[in-house]
Amino acid sequence: MAAVPITVPGVGESITEGILARWLKSDGSLVKAGEPLFELETDKASSVVPAGSRGVLKIAVAEGETVAIGATIGTLDPAATPAEVAAPARAQAASSAPASAPSASRPAAAGAASNDGAAADTGVPLAPSVRRLVAENEIDPSRIAPTGRGGRITKGDVLAHLQAPPAASEKVATAAPLPATAQAGDASPPGGTAFQATGGDHAQDSRATTAGRETRQRMSGLRQRVAQRLVQAQQTAAILTTFNEADMSRVQALRAQYKELFRTRHGVGLGFMSFFVKAVIEALKNYPTVNGRIDGNDIVYHNFHDIGVAVSTDRGLMVPVLRDADAMSFAEIEKAIAAFADKARKGTITVDDLQGGTFTITNGGTFGSLLSTPILNPPQSGILGMHAIKKRPVVVDDQIVIRPMMYLAFSYDHRIIDGREAVSFLVRIKECIEDPERLMLAL
């Protein structure tokens, strides 16, 4: 039986290439069918690709390389025998004995494959012990927070990285997933506005120690793509933001009243997101342009409502999409969001999950944001920003009362949505949130 080629799978219509982020098995090792084999990073997501068959892995393309969809990146040979395991790292120890023979036996180069990639990534040569550890444990050095002089990674840094749980070791501002915590106070999916994407990098920088005045960290493939798309969005669309505020007391009252029954009946907590998704859909039905997109010189109106809910993960911002959310009940919405949260945490969100949304909701409120200006998620034309709920004095019937208020921000593409439409759209959402009965009565 011949060796079976490993090809880069297609991950979505418009995606033609990705980055081979890392091999999850080492060269020469025996791989079982279905075992996670490599990680592929594309514009939208990082996905784990399983081995299609059983065999001994021969790597043809190194980590960090950009690969085309459909390209062959290695083979799985069912007939071969696995190589002497860990030949690379262990051989180094043996061959570095101070023999008097001038010919230095070069340490098996296999381990070097990922090492070269690593050195190239960080630009700073790795210390010998770091090279060995990184090779033995198949770590991407750009993921390790350095504390050495001039931003170098020390052996201790690698050891600490190996100790820490994966989420924490990324050291990004938060890795808060979608709420299985929907029943918690103000739990709403931690959506992402542009600032969140950069929050993580700041956390990295603040770990730069007295060793140097600067620390340099290569952006992950996903983050690089997100960065590109954000800039693209900003430069293509005419993005404006309109604001309003919503009195959350009715929603809070409903939640308080029904939360136990909801959980018992539906097996999931009743969060805020389901209300907002429903309110958004109501508004989208009233102002269909907001649900559309620009394609060349055409406006494309979508006759369905796929609502994306932004999630901050340790790899960056992701927006999984609730398909045909208008047909989903409150419980179904909450369940879907919880399921995405789980997938995000595990890093198993697929590109399919992220494609094709028509509108996005993002929530900076869990991080305490009072007000912000979300950026569009291209090619969508609108995005709703939710914020922290704060008790404020407001005037109701000429009386000053204290209400739990949330500022709402709606960023939109002014090329197809005009000011009046934008304001009205947001007012509609406000109305439905402040009086949830309107959702029932389509008022």
């Binding site: 101070p98 008097s100 012990s129 050495g148 020390t154 052996k155 600490a160």
Partner: protein, 468 residues
């Protein structure tokens, strides 16, 4: 008529002359005041350099006596011409002090001969050897006047029978019996010199150990070696007095158990330490605070004294009294004055003792690690198992590496053996880069060299030395 400078450095020792040159490189107009006619301070004139010259010369003499035979070299009529040895030492000193003068000229640092004295926070008066005193106006003043040997109050130096290290570098005759008071590195180095040249040497030390700051295991090895070389040690013994009678001296001392000790000798070298030298500077008059107990000048992290226009470095201030520490401080201070960030890493300053075998260390000792409750691992490797050492017939000593038990970061390296003074540089570099023992172990070391012993000791931290 005052001459104005951006920086006036008082003292042309390693701290002062290096600071002056660096400041000049950074564009400042610099004057360096030195009362000794030859530049270079204690280090070049009566410290590091002459002592190393004597140590190397006397070591060769010792080898000729004791070791050449092992190499199959027959020596007939081996003799010592002390005058010639001293002359060579003086020539070495002169060429280096001339070198500093040349460097000053090259960098346009004005060398001013005379004793400097602070007349205000920004003015220095120099008492010239002839003529009126010179007035210098300074944008900033750097005190780098160094240190002098500390006398014992009951045993003042007389330069003949009761001597200090400066005198001990130019005895005109090899003493019959030299008593060294103080078992620190100065006493041991000079004691070694004269032992090799034929003196009987007795070292009297107040503490229970010689080289008390060193790693205990390494210090023990040194003591054994020096004892084998013929030095006699009285530890935990306090010198109480000395009586000079014509050409001989009787030293009285008291041991720990109260026993009296009396030693007859012809010279007593008092090497109990050094203290900051600020005589004639007029620090009081200028308002510069001085620590009463130690005589040191307190400074902040930027080497500034309590007077904002006056800084101090080197032996005058806190920290080990080492020439290279003063040099690093000189550079850092000059850079800070020029508006750049300047920094000295005190954790990675190596210290060396030039006895033979040499002793060198950087970082913490095993005792310090234990005191601080650090979890550490140790790797050791003896020179006896090192190819080059064997070929050189210099197999005494070992290398010891201390590494953090969790991160493997090198915490300290201690070497006693041939050329330890040169070998320690690799350890210092590794520690500056927060390197691990494994890093040293995985780096290629030329064969056959003494440096391989460091590599094997690093391997030994992980219990996988190849050659032992």
């Amino acid at each position: 008529m005052a001459q104005r400078y951006d920086l006036v450095v008082i003292g042309a020792g390693p701290g002062g002359y290096v600071a002056a040159i660096r400041a000049a490189q950074l564009g400042m107009k610099v004057a360096c005041v030195e009362k000794r006619a030859s530049l270079g301070g204690t280090c070049l004139n009566v410290g590091c350099i002459p002592s190393k010259a004597m140590l190397d010369s006397s070591e060769l003499y010792h080898l000729a006596h004791e070791r050449f035979g092992r190499h199959g070299i027959k020596v007939d009529g081996l003799g010592l011409d002390l005058a010639a040895m001293l002359k060579r030492k003086n020539e070495v000193v002169k060429s280096l002090t001339d070198g500093v003068r040349y460097l000053f000229r090259k960098n346009k640092v004005e060398a001013i001969l005379g004793a400097g004295r602070l007349t205000s926070p920004t003015t220095v008066q120099v008492a010239a050897s002839e003529g009126a005193p010179i007035e210098l106006e300074a944008g900033h003043i750097l005190l780098a006047t160094g240190s002098e040997p500390t006398p014992l109050s009951f045993l003042p130096f007389d330069g003949k029978a009761i001597v200090n290290s400066t005198n001990a570098l130019c005895f005109e005759q090899v003493p019959d019996h030299l008593v060294v008071v103080g078992g620190g590195y100065i006493g041991l180095e000079l004691g070694s010199v004269w032992k090799r040249l034929g003196s009987k040497v007795t070292v009297i030390e107040f503490l229970p150990r010689i080289v008390p700051m060193a790693d205990v295991e390494i210090g023990d090895i040194l003591k054994k070696s020096l004892t084998r070389q013929g030095l006699e040690f009285h530890l935990e013994t306090k010198v109480t007095g000395a009586k000079v009678q014509d050409a001989s001296v009787t030293v009285t001392a008291e041991t720990k158990d109260g026993k009296a000790l009396s030693v007859a000798c012809d010279k007593v070298l008092v090497a109990v330490g050094r203290r900051p030298y600020t005589e004639g500077l007029n620090l009081d008059g200028a308002g510069v605070k001085v620590e009463a107990k130690t005589g040191k000048v307190p400074v902040d992290a930027h080497f500034r004294t309590n007077i904002p226009t006056i800084s101090a470095i080197g032996d005058l201030i806190r920290g080990p009294m080492l020439a290279h520490k003063a040099e690093d401080e000189g550079i850092a201070c000059a850079e800070i004055l020029a508006g750049k960030p300047g920094h000295v890493n005190y954790d990675t300053i190596p210290s060396v003792i030039y006895t033979w075998p040499e002793m060198a260390s950087v970082g913490i000792t095993e005792e310090q690690a234990q005191q601080e409750g650090l979890k550490y691992r140790v790797g050791k490797f003896p020179f006896l198992a090192n190819g080059r050492a064997k070929a050189m017939d210099e197999t005494e000593g070992l290398v010891k590496v201390l590494a953090d038990a969790t991160t493997d970061r090198v915490l300290g390296v201690h070497i006693i053996g041939p050329r330890a003074s040169d070998m320690i540089a690799e350890a210092v570099t590794t520690m500056e880069f927060a390197g691990s023992a494994e890093d040293i172990a995985r780096i290629c070391h030329a064969h056959p060299t003494l440096s391989e012993a460091l590599r094997e000791a690093a391997l030994a931290v992980d219990k996988r030395a190849i050659h032992s």
